[in-house]
Amino acid sequence: MSVAVSMEPAEFRLVIPSQTRYLNLVTGLAKRASLVAGLDDATSAKVSIAVDEAVTNVILHAYHGEGEHSVELELRFTEQALEIHILHSGQGLRGDQVVLPDPKEYIKHPRKGGLGLLLMSRFMDEVRFKADEVSGRNECCLIKKLD
């Protein structure tokens, strides 16, 4: 028996409460999704870290640690890439507001915080932020290309 595999882009969604207790669940999903997309183990681990950082930012900064909100993850599998969209209705962040720390300066002047965005940008091929002030829906999009 043969099984036909659709080459159409596939996507699915997961909605979690804005609580850090679910981070492990989300990172596990991101790693598994990366493997399903065809990424190797090491790259899949990097994707899961990037997703952890993005969801943590939403919970702690966009929602200020309030646990009664929702964080929506949409995973899209295409022939070219794995896209992970993290959607929320907390405080938005636009791409032009993102300032990545310089690792060399960071090491000279150690401090807590500021490294999550850097890890996301290093581990993914593209990181995009969209803030829609009209609808209040905001998004962080993480893209990993399939070589």
């Binding site: 850090t20 207790r21 492990n24 681990a45 943590t56 150690p110 401090r111 490294l115 890890l119 290093r122």
Partner: protein, 119 residues
């Protein structure tokens, strides 16, 4: 299984922490409290044996960064050993392998600080 458990033991003047599991924004407070407890007790040379650490996010890195100056001001240090490949990648990507001394295993780390401890 808990997301994170932390064992601790002492080897001479070196406090060895063995975090097992995942350090992320959910578990980082436990990790931070373990580190801060050692510093409060005046144990400034700390070895993080990461053989059972599967994952560390920037929250965990921040906890280490937050104490590095304090321990070094007291002639101590935070050492790392037994990093799994993906954990090493995180440290290395951010340049932390230049900031911390990283060893293949615990014995190598203890040997490296032994002369300092005698002195």
């Amino acid at each position: 299984m808990a997301d994170l458990s932390i064992a601790m033991r002492q080897a001479g003047d070196v406090a060895i922490l063995l975090p097992a599991g995942f350090i992320n924004a959910h578990t980082v407070r436990e990790f931070e409290e373990a580190l801060e407890g050692l510093v409060r007790d005046g144990r400034y040379t700390i070895l993080l044996n990461c053989r059972d650490l599967h994952y560390i996010s920037s929250a965990g890195l921040g906890a280490i960064m937050g104490l590095i100056e304090t321990v070094r001001d007291h002639q101590g240090d935070i050492l790392l050993s037994d990093l799994q490949p993906n954990v090493f990648t995180i440290f290395d990507t951010l340049g932390f392998t230049q900031l911390y001394r990283v060893f293949g295993d615990e014995d190598q780390a203890l040997a490296a600080v032994a002369p300092e401890r005698k002195g």
